[in-house]
């Protein structure tokens, strides 16, 4: 028993050490966000600010079009999630359930698109979006984000759909349901973990993306949060207090969402892969 106790202590010590490494940078930002402007000029490792202040948050929320950017990001992320999950679900269902010419090739091609460096697709995408008249419109961003998120979502969803037994839909079909009904009322509810995960990733894609948003959105009024943050803090070096406060405000929604969905993370991500 004593041997086990020692081992337990060792394990907990290791875990606590590792947890410290993971959360220290985050708490460090929290500290800076509550410290007055120039207080970064200390090497102290303490996580408690020497002077406590709300001024950084006040500046970010009330002296910048922060709310507007927040709304833009929210609309963008919601649109991307809806569109992306819809597109990925239907396609993944077909790839999982039907045998048709081009199935293998289609899956492969989707995977291959992940390898082309995204930053270099900006120029053609810019030309395309401006030809479609979607420059400086959130809808343009939504289109681009949801299509770039598709391949990864399809891979996850397909893997998950594969683990759902065929019998379930077949019995629904025998009972007189149409293909669409079987898909929407049988498969989709069963695939909830995987759908939650793809939704989460689509949301994060849209919420966190910087370069495309900076290229396509021309007026300050249309910026999303990352672009706004960049503009707000200039070259990111000038005012750390503001940067910290803004990044906390930006991170909170996505971290909250992530944490609320994390229970699906393991089953949603690995169900398909484990089955092999």
């Amino acid at each position: 028993m004593k041997k086990y106790l020692f081992r337990k202590i060792l394990i907990h010590a290791f875990l606590i050490f590792w947890v410290t490494i993971t959360i220290y940078p985050i708490l460090w930002v929290v500290k800076i966000s509550f410290s007055p402007g120039k207080s970064l000029v200390t090497t102290s490792l303490s996580l408690i600010p020497e002077q406590f202040t709300w001024s950084n948050f006040h500046t970010v929320i009330f002296e910048m079009p922060f709310f507007r950017w927040f709304m833009n990001s929210a609309i963008c992320a919601a649109g991307t999630t809806t569109l992306g999950v819809f597109l990925a679900c239907t396609a993944a269902y077909a790839y999982s359930r039907f045998k048709f010419p081009g199935r293998r090739e289609g899956m492969m091609t989707f995977l291959i698109t992940q390898m082309f460096p995204g930053t270099l697709m900006i120029i053609p995408q810019f030309i395309l979006i401006s030809k479609l008249g979607l420059l400086n419109r959130l809808f343009g961003l939504i289109l681009i984000y949801s299509t770039t998120a598709i391949p990864f979502c399809i891979w996850i969803l397909k893997g998950y759909f594969d683990t759902i037994p065929l019998d379930l839909e077949e019995s629904a079909l025998i009972d007189g349901a149409s293909r669409n009904q079987a898909f929407w009322y049988v498969i989709i509810p069963l695939a909830r973990p995987a759908i939650a995960i793809t939704a989460l990733f689509s949301f994060m894609t849209a919420w966190n993306e910087y370069i495309l948003a900076a290229t396509f959105m021309e007026t300050e009024f249309k910026y999303t949060l990352p672009v706004g943050l960049r503009m707000m803090v200039g070259e990111f070096a000038s005012d750390w207090g503001l940067f910290a406060a803004a990044s906390l405000l930006i991170s909170i929604p996505v971290v909250a969402l992530f944490m609320s969905l994390q229970k699906y993370l393991i089953s949603g991500l690995t169900a398909g892969a484990v089955k092999g």
């Binding site: 077909a94 291959i112 919420w207 944490m259």
Partner: protein, 477 residues
């Protein structure tokens, strides 16, 4: 190259001087006819759809011989409409040549009559010739456009005709109809991908064979075609001691990817195994805290770590000082700058591998371990013989994906070290980005990304083949 469409307006405002005194002003404002190729294009396109529609309707009811006649008729109608288009272009421009030009000519001759206004007259003359040459250019371009559209549409019609006659369309239609449900399910995603992903990739591939840059933005792509020059330039530069060299950057990229993925997998796997032990209390809490880095937007992570590595007030140097080490200027030497990137990305990336490994571990049936225990296996044997092989199917795709992501991990490199010092820590994707958006050599940058693409594609295909081989080896055992 002819710049097309040519400038359309000319404004002439000339003071008229008589015996050194200002007497009036000639204010002329002339336009060349606007070329309207878009309209022609649209017209032809509508005609194409119209004709092929008729064609398919007719197809159902008439015999093969009559179909050939129908095709001939369509060709004839197309040709006539081409002639009409040419006629309308001609009249559009002749209107200009006959009226506007004549008016200018009259003004010119009036001016010429006055000896003092001779200079003005020659100016008007030069403007007049310029205008008509613009008009000529526009007219030529319009005619060319009409001709090309005619040829294109005729070829398209012919192609449809030929496909029908050789029953290719029938075959395609049959396959399509048989799998219509499947295709209708993948259609939306495929359409979106075609438009917004495949097209840009295709365009990028084409760009890599051109000399496209900011200065040549207006020129058509095909005029800038330079073959494999970009690739040869990139690949034949063996000056590997320059930080901008391709092979040096490739070396850094490979080291970067390998160290990252190895650390991600090692840390992730280790933590997963610990978190999977039933005797550890508070596992849920630990797990939630440990995946936190994954949830934070990665550009923010990058900027936080950049701050942590600041020389004067960064927490990392603070920690070093605490243990009595001197502060380090992290971004001044390649090695330390590389370490900043590495630390950031390891911090950011291990939760993904941890979650995947946890999922895989949970799916391993406990009976296997029990059986092994009865047979007297040591923990190490159990790990090696049971855990590792069963983790494989889940970890392999995750590792492949991890390699691809890390290889193209733009944000971290760009925002943490920013390639400092002097591009020594740039990886391929960030240098491609610099070629495109700092030096505006789009063609060159596109060639860079094509090479990245080829490397990753080769890696993945090889990997899939190897995994398949090992899988079959496992199965046959």
């Amino acid at each position: 190259m002819i710049s097309w469409p040519a400038p359309e307006t000319i404004n002439i405002a000339l003071p008229i001087m008589k015996e050194g005194k200002y007497t009036g002003i000639v204010d002329l404002n002339y336009k060349t006819p606007k070329s309207a190729p878009q309209n022609f294009g649209l017209l032809f396109f509508v005609m194409l759809i119209f004709f092929s529609g008729i064609y398919f309707v007719v197809l159902k009811f008439i015999r093969r011989f009559s179909r050939i006649i129908a095709f001939a008729l369509i060709s004839l109608i197309l040709f006539i409409s081409y002639l009409i288009a040419v006629q309308s272009i001609n009249s559009n421009y002749s209107d200009f040549n006959n009226c506007k030009n004549k008016e200018l000519f009259r003004i010119e001759s009036v001016l010429k009559a006055e000896p003092e206004l001779k200079e003005t007259a020659t100016f008007v003359d030069s403007q007049r010739t310029k205008l008509s040459s613009f008009a000529e250019t526009n007219k030529a371009a319009d005619l060319r456009f009409a001709r090309n559209s005619f040829v294109f549409i005729w070829l398209a019609t012919f192609a449809i005709f030929a496909l029908v006659e050789f029953r290719v369309v029938n075959l395609i239609w049959k396959v399509f109809f048989k799998n219509r449900i499947a295709y209708s399910y993948i259609a939306p995603a495929t359409f979106g991908m075609l438009l917004l992903v495949f097209f840009p990739i295709f365009f990028g591939l084409i760009l890599s064979f051109t000399d496209y840059s900011l200065l040549k933005f207006k020129e058509p792509i095909w005029a800038l075609f330079i073959g494999f020059k970009n690739f040869i330039d990139i690949l034949s530069d063996f000056n590997i001691f320059s930080y901008q060299n391709f092979y040096y950057t490739l070396f850094i990229t490979v080291i970067w990817t390998a160290t990252n993925v190895i650390l991600h997998v090692a840390i992730g796997l280790f933590l997963a195994i610990i978190l999977n032990m039933t005797m550890v209390a508070g596992r849920r809490m630990y797990r939630i805290l440990l995946i936190l880095p994954w949830a934070v937007p990665n550009y923010i992570t990058a900027l936080i770590w950049r701050g942590m590595f600041q020389r004067e007030f960064g927490a990392v140097n603070g920690l070093l000082n605490l243990f009595g080490f001197p502060s380090i200027s992290w971004f001044e030497k390649p090695l330390t700058a590389f370490l900043t990137n590495l630390t950031t990305n390891v911090w950011l990336g291990f939760p993904f591998m941890m979650v995947i490994a946890l999922g895989a571990l949970q799916s391993i049936p406990a009976e296997l371990y029990e059986a092994a225990e009865i047979d007297g296996a040591t923990p190490w044997q159990k790990f090696k013989r049971i855990t590792l092989p069963l983790l494989r199917p889940a970890m392999t795709p995750a590792i492949i994906l991890g390699v691809v992501w890390t290889f193209n991990m733009f944000n971290i490199i760009y925002l943490v070290s920013g390639g400092a010092p002097y591009g020594a820590t740039d990886i391929l994707i960030t240098s491609a980005y610099r070629w495109a958006f700092e030096r505006y050599q789009y063609g060159y940058a596109a060639a860079y990304s094509t090479i990245i693409f080829i490397i990753l594609l080769g890696y993945t295909l090889l990997n899939i083949r190897v995994t398949r081989a090992t899988e079959s080896a496992y199965e046959s055992r």
